[in-house]
């Protein structure tokens, strides 16, 4: 019995020692993990590992990123990634017929090459996956973006001149461009064109095709290596400490935080410009979390870029009017300057609808509530619009749709107070008349003053064109961006008039816009026209029946073909029984039979013709 007792005491001692040793080791490991976690890691020199390395520990985030169009921004051309119709279809634009073919696993485009010959080239990569998919072919040391692309929503091929803002008659290959020295920077993670200036050759590499984890979180090699330790991981899980071996943009101050997005969503130039050589050789030096202004300066209206009129990309007050300038828009907003508003206040990278990267509630006034709870609570009084109407939506007045890009008109990211006088002071669209499309800018300015209890404006324009409904003035007399914005507004779901028949008055003006010499304007005008007629057909079936027999409009068809379609639509409108179609405000130049007043139309078109032609190939 004595021996058994001794043995029992011995084993207790052994177990006790083992447990004490284990506990001591654990405490030591936890303390060293805590020290390690608190030690900042300089991310710039760290290697990139790719999103596959993130999946094991961040399956939920990886999966939510996988749903986004960020992931599919640039892809190798495969049966999964290629969205275009390659079943031998063709597209003829500017006298050049392009054909799209498939041979086994290869996708071929037969089109005019850089030397003017028609030849077949194998698609190597795709760019884009939401609205437009562009195609890259390999030529020697470089990738070339083809000038023909696939319209994903319209399910058709088109020439990029209709996606950008180019007039008809442009050289077919004007948009046949180099990828390695341009698109590569924003559509991939850590682009390195590897340009050899002596041999004039590219040797481009990217950390990962598309916009992947490390574009926003920085390079991950150190983070992955350190977190192989379960003790470190569990310390992070349960202590709530930040892991400084990787970047979490949510923990950055407002400016560096918006710069993470602004790196791509804000066109920029190397700073100083001569640094472009370094960019082309070694790549963009910026790493997420750094101060972007150390390397680049955002393009502004007054920026100088050799051979490019940068001012065309902005409204005259400096507000961006193209997409990929959202960063500049936000920087100009008081909400950012005074309130520290950042992109991720509204946009979610790992949640919500991948289209726009917004959670459903962020598509309405809820987006503004966290900072402007009192205004959102009394939105009707604040906006002087009927409760629940489109006019009480914060976006409608403060972020109006006046930015063109990727074949669509988008909300401005410069958050502003509506001011109708911008129409005559800056020749730019403004919120009131983008919804009240049958009203003039003068009406909007006068009404707003009266609503605010202020005396009438003294700077109302004497120019009679401002007596015309602003949407019609801009559609017919504005520059190309004004026209495309007006064409979009006339058919936009957000409108002061919900009744479909009450919006039908815009049809003859949109028909006029189908004659525009910019295919982008024609395309948007046709979309609006089709939408208005379809909606009106819903409440007046006879109208739906007669319009359904008319030919569809192809914005890139030859002139004669387009003219024939336009003539049929005009004839249809003239024969339409106007009874029951509500008349718009008198600012819309229509006669009693709802036909455009030719004199006013002529005047507006003459104003447009007097403007210099512009091209915004971006």
């Amino acid at each position: 019995m004595r021996r058994r007792g001794e043995g029992s005491r011995g084993s207790v001692l052994v177990w006790g020692l083992a447990i004490a040793l284990g506990a001591g080791l654990l405490v030591w490991r936890v303390r060293s993990a805590a020290r390690d976690v608190r030690t900042p890691v300089a991310l710039a020199p760290v290697e990139y590992v790719g999103s596959d390395a993130c999946r094991a520990c961040h399956p939920v985030h990886e999966e939510s990123w996988r749903r986004t169009f960020h992931r599919t921004m640039t892809q190798e051309a495969t049966a999964d990634s290629v969205l275009g119709d390659f079943r031998g279809v063709s597209l003829t634009v500017e006298g050049v017929t392009s054909r799209f073919l498939r041979e086994g696993g290869h996708f071929l485009v037969e089109t005019r090459d850089g030397e003017g010959r028609i030849r077949q080239q194998v698609v190597a990569r795709t760019v884009g996956s939401r609205r437009v998919q562009q195609y890259l072919v390999r030529e020697g040391d470089r990738y070339i973006r083809l000038p023909v692309a696939w319209d994903i929503e319209g399910r058709r091929w088109f020439h990029l001149s209709a996606g950008f803002l180019d007039p008809d008659g442009l050289d077919f290959n004007a948009h046949r461009s180099l990828w390695d020295g341009n698109c590569i920077f924003c559509h991939n993670v850590k682009a390195q064109p590897g340009y050899d200036w002596e041999r004039a050759r590219f040797d481009s590499h990217v950390a990962e095709l598309g916009i992947a984890c490390e574009a926003c979180h920085g390079p991950g090699a150190e983070h992955v290596a350190r977190n192989t330790s379960p003790v470190r991981r569990y310390y992070l899980h349960y202590s709530g400490a930040s892991d400084l071996s990787i970047l979490n943009p949510e923990r950055l101050d407002a400016l560096p935080r918006v710069q993470v997005c602004g790196h791509c969503h804000g066109q920029r130039t190397p700073e100083p410009l001569a640094r472009i050589r370094e960019f082309l050789s070694n790549g963009d030096p910026y790493t997420a979390g750094e101060d972007l202004s150390r390397y680049t300066a955002p393009l502004q209206r007054d920026s100088h870029l050799q051979g490019v009129d940068v001012s065309l990309r902005f409204w005259r007050d400096g507000t961006p009017r193209l997409t990929a300038y959202e960063y500049q828009g936000l920087l100009l907003s008081k909400d950012f300057q005074r309130g520290g508003l950042t992109c991720t206040h509204c946009h979610a990278m790992h949640a919500g609808d991948p289209r726009g990267m917004l959670e459903p509630e962020m598509r309405g006034p809820e987006a503004c509530r966290s900072c402007h709870a009192d205004l959102v609570a009394r939105a009707a009084g604040h906006s002087r619009h009927r409760e629940g109407s489109a006019g009480t939506d914060c976006y409608a007045c403060h972020m109006p749709k006046m930015v063109y890009g990727v074949m669509t008109v988008h909300p401005s990211h410069r958050i502003q107070t509506p001011d109708p006088s911008r129409a005559w002071r800056q020749e730019m669209p403004e919120a009131c008349t983008l919804c009240h499309t049958d009203r003039s800018a003068k009406w909007a300015a006068t009404t707003l003053q009266a609503q605010r209890g202020l005396p009438p404006r003294e700077d109302l324009p004497v120019d009679s064109s401002f007596d015309v409904a602003e949407s019609i003035r801009a559609l017919l007399a504005g520059d190309v961006v004004q026209r495309v914005v007006a064409a979009s507004a006339l058919g936009d779901a957000r409108s002061a008039t919900a009744q479909p028949l009450a919006r039908l008055w815009a049809v003859p003006f949109l028909t006029q816009a189908l004659e525009d010499d910019y295919p982008a304007v024609r395309r948007v005008a046709w979309q609006s026209l089709e939408r208005l007629v379809t909606q009106a057909g819903g409440v007046r079936p006879a109208l739906a029946g007669s319009s359904a027999r008319l030919p569809r409009f192809d914005f890139q068809a030859p002139v004669a073909e387009r003219a024939a379609v336009i003539a049929q639509w005009r004839e249809w409108w003239e024969k339409l029984d106007p009874r029951g179609i509500p008349r718009p405000d008198a600012a819309v130049p229509l006669d009693d039979a709802l036909r455009p007043r030719p004199l006013i139309i002529e005047q507006l078109l003459r104003r447009r013709a007097a403007q210099p032609a512009i091209q915004i190939g971006e």
């Binding site: 520990c57 985030h61 379960p230 899980h237 349960y238």
Partner: protein, 147 residues
Amino acid sequence: MTDTQTQLRTEDRPRAHARWGWTLLFVSLTLGVGLEAMEGFRWAPLVGDAWAHRLWSLAHFHGAALGLLHLVYVGWAEAPALSEASRAWASRLLRAGSLALPLGFLLGGIAHPEGDPSLGIVFAPVGAVAVLVAVALQMLGTWRRRG
């Protein structure tokens, strides 16, 4: 401990393992049926969470397998090749391990952080070691000469 008490414990051991075995099997199979039902009805917290799915499946599988091991052990609980002390250790370790291992997986799948089981998972390796030692003791006994 008196000889009578030792005798009683010895006689109770096979019965105890039979109880453990059948109970573990019942609990684990119930968990398995529950998991299958949740999968069948696409219960989002399970099917949408790969870690919980994997860990609870492991809990179900290990519980059932260890239940069977207990039932097999009933026939070996009094193996004469092992000393009474070793038999007692093997029995205790098997019982502790077969409780801790599935429990660790079960708890690990509850409220776990992204990419890792929750802290309850620590029971799983402790249980695994306990079962392993019990099995090792039995294995050594089978290699030893009787008497």
